[in-house]
């Protein structure tokens, strides 16, 4: 088991790893069929140190915050290391958010420095939100075309200073990153993750999925996401493994990369995993009846041999035609960000490609439980990782209750939100808001959510209150957005939908014109944030003394309606 007990910070652990594995390849970056870059740990250090020095020269120091908004690439990791080396706090933001959402989070985080790439900067610069985020003093932009307008930013490639930077030590309890789990437009939820959170999570995860020189991780999930940050940066770097970045995520290039770079691990969201499944099934459909029968027989044989544990060598020999396109060295597909359907997990396991499904949330420092594959179970999210205490609160007669977690990986709190933090972390226990039950083997099974939110198959958390702004001044008396499962619990983690509860004006009817208006506004939202239907409610919404809607009370009242007839699809 990896021992990181001597380290106080991410920066200190990475600093040693860069020395220890200096000659090993740490990063490969490809764009379509072209390999753009291949860096050793020595090269990586040589790129990061001048950046760290330049940041220090402008006064960037311990505890200062720097944000990265970039697609997955070498410069993301180089910048992150420079920030940690200089004692900074990293604020990784989702490059898929709108520019105004990004500015809102930049302002909320208090970032002094922003590191981004040119196409994103072009959009950020054009957005009105820039004027509010006056805290951002230094902007570094990568890959700016010659003669392009930098709009007050500096070129990342030129932002280098000579001389060695000073390594700034940090303590285990200091904040290392502020990670936004969700919440733009409404109440940004910036999880303050400490150095200890990452060091402990790294030890726990690598005990199940070890990294070492020669291991190659394909980084597809955005690196701002807690999973990719851990298994696509910190984990592999600490152990001398290599990370492969692709500048385009078109399915055909992703498929090619598996074989070309002999990938060992990859993390995917359920949507992409299902897409891979569809692709394989379509390929099987084209086989002649004889070949199909032979394949089915081999799959049956593989299932029998791998009943108790994966046997990768054997599976690869038996089902070579399936494994070869994956490069023949794929050990595990890590799936995260959202719940995965058991039949998809089973499909891959039967082919000898283990899928490590688990359960986690940003607030818990990524993973809480992971399936250890001994034996493989498609129907659960696995057992708690080493160092995780998990309990079920107030279980009902069938044993189902809210999942609570305590461990050294739990965040220190939400940035600038003491009340929300106190509601979420009670006596050291993180209230996940998810409903679950342990089975006799100690595996956790999930049965839906207690909180008003959804998680999409792409791993996006959506809080209904964050999307209400788009329906503002809708010509109805009042409205409120809910997760359908919050009102009518279905005990499922898939196919979650959002709905718009409407209270019409006296005498008003739900006309085609109103439906069209709602539909038009809905289409302004990113596709994963859109509502699926409307529910009409004939009474005034319950409100607090300050006239805020009492969402939980309204949800209880809506729950009395029959979902089948009350839910009007858009």
């Amino acid at each position: 088991m990896l021992d990181l007990s001597k380290y106080q910070s991410i920066g200190a652990a990475l600093k040693d790893a860069l020395e220890q594995f200096a000659g090993e390849v740490c990063l490969i970056e490809a764009d379509r069929e072209r390999e753009k870059e291949r860096l050793t740990y020595r090269d990586f250090k040589d790129r990061a140190h001048p950046l760290a020095k330049a940041l220090q020269d402008v006064g960037f120091t311990a505890g200062d915050r720097a944000s990265i908004i970039m697609t997955n690439q070498s410069k993301w990791l180089i910048s992150a290391y420079a920030i940690f080396y200089a004692g900074g706090v990293l604020v990784p933001l989702d490059y898929k958010l709108t520019p105004d959402e990004q500015w809102q989070l930049l302002k909320h985080s208090g970032a002094k420095v922003l590191i981004t790439e040119y196409p994103i900067w072009r959009q950020l610069n054009a957005a009105t939100g820039r004027s509010d985020a006056t805290n951002v003093c230094t902007v570094l932009v990568t890959e700016v075309p010659a003669n392009a307008d930098l709009a007050g930013a500096d070129r990342w490639e030129d932002y280098r200073a000579s001389g060695e930077p000073v390594f700034v030590p940090r303590a285990r309890k200091d904040v290392a990153c502020i990670v936004y789990s969700s919440g733009t437009g409404g109440r940004p939820k910036g999880c303050m993750m400490t150095h200890e959170n990452y060091l402990e999570q790294c030890v726990a995860l690598t005990s199940l999925y070890p990294f070492a020189p020669g291991v190659r991780y394909l980084s597809i999930l955005p690196t701002n996401h807690a999973i990719d940050f851990m298994v696509g940066f910190f984990g592999p770097f600490i152990c001398g493994a290599a990370v492969v970045h692709l500048r385009t995520l078109r399915p055909e290039y992703v498929r090619e990369a598996f074989a070309k770079y002999k990938i060992t691990y990859v993390s995917l969201v359920p949507l992409v995993l299902k897409n891979l499944q569809k692709g394989l099934q379509a390929r099987f459909e084209t086989l002649s009846p004889g070949k199909r029968r032979a394949l089915n027989a081999l799959v049956a044989l593989n299932k029998a041999f791998t009943k108790n544990r994966p046997r990768l060598g054997l599976s690869r020999r038996l089902l070579n035609q399936v494994h070869e396109p994956f490069g023949g060295e794929l050990r595990t597909i890590i799936v995260g960000g959202a719940f995965t359907e058991p039949r998809t997990l089973q499909f891959f396991y039967d082919l000898g490609i283990p899928v490590a499904n688990g359960y986690g949330l940003t607030e818990a420092g990524t993973a809480i439980t992971v399936n250890d594959l001994r034996p493989f179970r498609a129907d659960t999210v696995g057992k708690p990782l080493p160092g995780m205490e998990v309990r079920i609160l107030n279980p009902s007669a069938d044993g189902i209750g809210e999942v609570a977690v305590r461990s050294k990986t739990i965040m220190s709190g939400y940035l600038n939100e003491p009340e929300l933090t106190a509601e979420t972390i009670v006596d050291g226990w993180l209230m996940t808001g998810d409903l679950g039950r342990f089975d006799p083997e100690g595996h956790l099974r999930l049965f839906g959510r207690k909180k008003n939110m959804i998680v999409t198959e792409e791993g996006k958390n959506v809080y209904p209150e964050d999307i209400e702004a788009v329906f503002e001044s809708l010509s109805v008396k009042e409205f409120c957005v809910f997760a359908a499962n919050y009102i009518w619990p279905e005990r499922t983690m898939v196919g979650e939908q959002l709905l718009l509860a409407l209270h019409l004006e006296p005498g008003q009817t739900y006309s085609e014109e109103l439906r069209r208006e709602i539909s038009a506004r809905n289409s302004k939202l990113l596709n994963y944030k859109r509502i699926h239907g409307v529910v009409l409610f004939g009474e005034d919404f319950p409100r607090t003394a300050s006239l805020k809607i009492k969402r939980n009370v309204l949800a209880e009242q809506l729950a009395k309606l029959d979902r089948a007839t009350a839910f009007l699809p858009l």
């Binding site: 490059y95 897409n275 198959e457 792409e458 289409s523």
Partner: protein
């Protein structure tokens, strides 16, 4: 050199072929997620088809936040 109108028409034709919907059933202002019932991954697949057709490289970020055919066509047009 194609006009934006031509490019838009070709985008609509290709999308209708790729997703097997009747030619002429798609309009420039249509939201392709909704109209075609596709997800972000399928959008990327469509993008590859469009790249091959127009002989350009369109970085993934160009479709970030784009959901209608007209905007998509204008992004392509700027690279022709």
């Amino acid at each position: 050199m194609r006009t934006l109108e031509q490019t838009t028409r070709e985008v609509l034709d290709l999308a209708s072929k790729h997703f097997n919907v009747p030619a002429g059933s798609l309009a420039p202002e249509d939201d392709f997620f909704k109209k075609l019932g596709i997800d972000s991954l399928q959008t990327l697949e469509m993008l590859s088809r469009l790249e091959n057709h127009f002989g350009i490289e369109l970085p993934d970020y160009e479709v970030q936040g784009v959901s209608d055919f007209r905007t998509l066509a204008s992004r392509i047009q700027s690279r022709l």
